[in-house]
Symmetry: C2
Subunit: 436 residues, 2 copies
């Protein structure tokens, strides 16, 4: 399979969260538009306040219709110094393709483009591709609502996730949601000398510590935001029976840890797939340089994300979290909370007709039936597509849990890219042959 | 008074903690050496592994001898964007001189140099000036121990502190000590996607929060390190009677706060001068950029300082703190503690003969007697000079509490510089005239 077009696409640093990369994000959209045009698609680039939405369609009267969703934007590459090869200089080593976006999501989306080369099965195909997935899809959600009719399909096909394990084809039927906050704490009006003022000055770093300790319980791993667990739907026993076994020892080895810390009373797989979590994703304040500086900083801050499960709502959780943060604020401090983005959790039918067809295609290509899994990550548009279009959704992850998503040395195993292309093509053939 | 030499000196960015500034630190030493040579001093530049120690002497047979201590290094200027004029472009505005080092300590040390211009009183003067004060004086302490005899003096004179308030000449008789640690926490072996791993992964930022919350009690402001307060010497009632009154409302206005948070059961002045404290001075981890990145970082860290009072010992406190940090470490994390620097607390005799002479000089120049104060900051060499030389120590602060030490827009009020020069000159005259 010819990787050169994908290498070219991955070389474009389409970091959607970085205002300095706006033009690069656009270039990545135009690159895909050209590619789809060459495959006979009619394309439309929809401008938004941030990054354009690419819609493309290749329709066949009377044929079943599939809507493919993906995103051409990527996470920031920091910390740069930890990459073995530069994030935007795609490199193949030992059967793996290394680059920011290799797995999330350009590489996986590319499989859907490559699957169309020489495809003869009569199917109508629509592509809906955004450049704001990594920042919460703010433009795509209203676009989907406004374009229900045009986006209509018999199945929605999405590859923006991971297989359960190497060699195990996986169909995903659930995703967690997300609520992402930026929290800033302010103390004195200026930075202070810790000798001259230590003992009377508010210290926002210390206050951040007090707050963090009361956001998540150290002993039980429970999130301490009042009301947080109220809408969490328990997992029925028959659903758990579907789940594959998690190799905890392998996971520990992979992460380089001796324990898998998490919420008391739940196993690791349930904690990853069906329990909500809270994690600070960044923290800053005061002096971070070499050596020592005896300063009491006037402010400190953190990024905080909560992964949500059905039926938690990102807006509601943001309200609860903000109220709790305000309640925890010690006297003498000021607090600012910014809601950066959110996404609803979603559950789909694991045995819908297109899921059954994809299961068959996967079994033919991999030589074993797929496992059924939820995923801990979030694709904000999936809940929206489910609500707006009412079509069955097929989540086909082609990545792997060790793909270093959102981390240095992101990669995609080429064997999964190749088998993915074959499975997607076979899916179209099965769909074209199935009774309407 | 001619400020141009001082402006020239302040323009040299002698940041001792920054390896990239090594040559600049040296230039600042050489600048002072030239200046003292021009005043008839015999000078010696002593090389150390980091920044040179400048020793200079101008001796008169039979005259009383004064040792002047100061430092030519400065704190880092970050955050740069908050300076109204650049930190190393000294600027005079409304009777104040703005520059990094204007008050701490080049400006104050310059007063001691300027006081010698045209001085006729017969006194022997020695200068001991280092470039490592802001990083804990690692070279100076052994130097003092090894050179006791040469450094011998009838009084040690130091200006590296602040007056109690504007217009209030101040003699300082106590300083807090310092124990400064860098703490780093490690979780998984690599950065992780918070969706794919949130629920099973250690989060070093969260763990830092749990630890911070158990280093200092939110309710009482007490440091929670076991044994921390054991050697703290209570302040006798008669000493407190010496203390000036603190204008708490003015301090709150200055800091822009509504409360002065601190240790329960002690007034603000006692907390600043005679109670130990703990303050995180920096914190970092994960994503700090614009927007959102859903990462669980593999590590996080903080800088932590403890201000100490008699009879706490920095080494002992570092042991206690490190043991407590290790005890607080949740399972699944690894901890690294680096001791960056320390300094012993010190108390001197407020009514020694040279202190009495300086009190007289101050009263003549300012038209009011000085107040007697302790200071919350640390000058590591003072305890060492006291022990090694046994000479009375005169701490004459010419700065002010709002000088923005270790913060943006550091400044020195020129009126204090000028009166300081006059008082120091008058002190030498009184000393020369006093019976041996």
């Amino acid at each position: 399979m010819d990787l050169s077009p994908l290498l070219e696409w991955l070389a474009i640093p389409s970091v959607s969260t970085d205002p300095a990369r706006k033009e690069d994000v656009r270039r990545a959209a135009l690159w895909l538009e050209e590619r789809l045009k060459a495959l006979g698609f009619r394309t439309e680039l929809h401008e938004t306040p941030l990054h354009p939405i690419l819609y493309a369609e290749r329709l066949l009267e009377g044929a079943p219709t599939v809507l493919v969703y993906g995103h051409y934007d990527v996470q920031p590459p920091d910390p740069l110094e930890l990459w073995e090869t530069p994030p935007f200089s795609p490199t193949v080593r030992e059967g793996r393709l290394y680059a920011r976006g290799a797995s999330d999501d350009k590489g996986q989306l590319f499989a859907h483009v490559a699957a169309l080369e020489g495809l003869e099965a009569p199917v109508s195909i629509k592509f809906l591709v955004e450049g704001e997935e990594e920042i919460g899809s703010p433009s795509l959600l209203p676009f989907v609502r406004a374009n229900r009719e045009r986006l209509k399909a018999d199945a929605v096909l999405i590859s923006d996730g991971a297989m359960f394990a190497p060699g195990v084809p996986t169909l995903t039927y659930g995703l967690r949601g997300l609520c992402y906050l930026e929290v800033r704490l302010f103390g004195a009006r200026r930075d202070l000398h810790s000798g001259a003022f230590g003992g009377v000055a508010p210290n926002p770093i210390q206050a951040l510590g007090w707050i963090l300790a009361r956001l998540k319980d150290e002993g039980t791993g429970k999130v301490l935001i009042p009301g947080f667990y109220e809408k969490v739907r328990p997992v029925p026993q028959e659903e758990k029976a579907l789940w594959p076994a998690l190799d905890e020892e392998a996971l520990k080895r992979e992460l380089g840890v001796e324990v898998l810390p998490g919420e008391e009373g739940y196993g690791p797989l349930e904690r990853l797939w069906a329990r909500p979590t809270l994690d600070p994703n960044g923290v800053w304040g005061g002096y971070q340089g070499e050596g020592s500086k005896t300063v009491i900083p006037k402010e400190a801050g953190m990024k905080l994300s909560l992964r949500l499960v059905p039926d938690q709502d990102p807006e509601e959780v943001a309200e609860l979290a903000e109220a709790h943060l305000r309640a925890l604020l010690p006297p003498g401090y000021r607090l600012e909370v910014k809601r950066l983005h959110g996404g609803k959790p979603v559950l789909t039918d694991p045995f819908s007709p297109p899921m059954r067809l994809m299961a068959k295609a996967l079994e033919e290509v991999w030589g074993r039936p797929p496992v059924y899994a939820r995923e801990g990550g979030t694709i904000p548009v999936v809940a929206e597509l489910k609500e707006a279009l009412g079509a069955p959704i097929v989540l086909l992850g082609l990545g792997l849990p060790d793909d270093n998503l959102h981390a240095p040395n992101e990669k995609l195993d080429l064997v999964n890219l190749e088998k993915g292309v074959a499975a997607i093509r076979r899916f179209y053939e099965l769909l074209a042959a199935s009774p309407a």
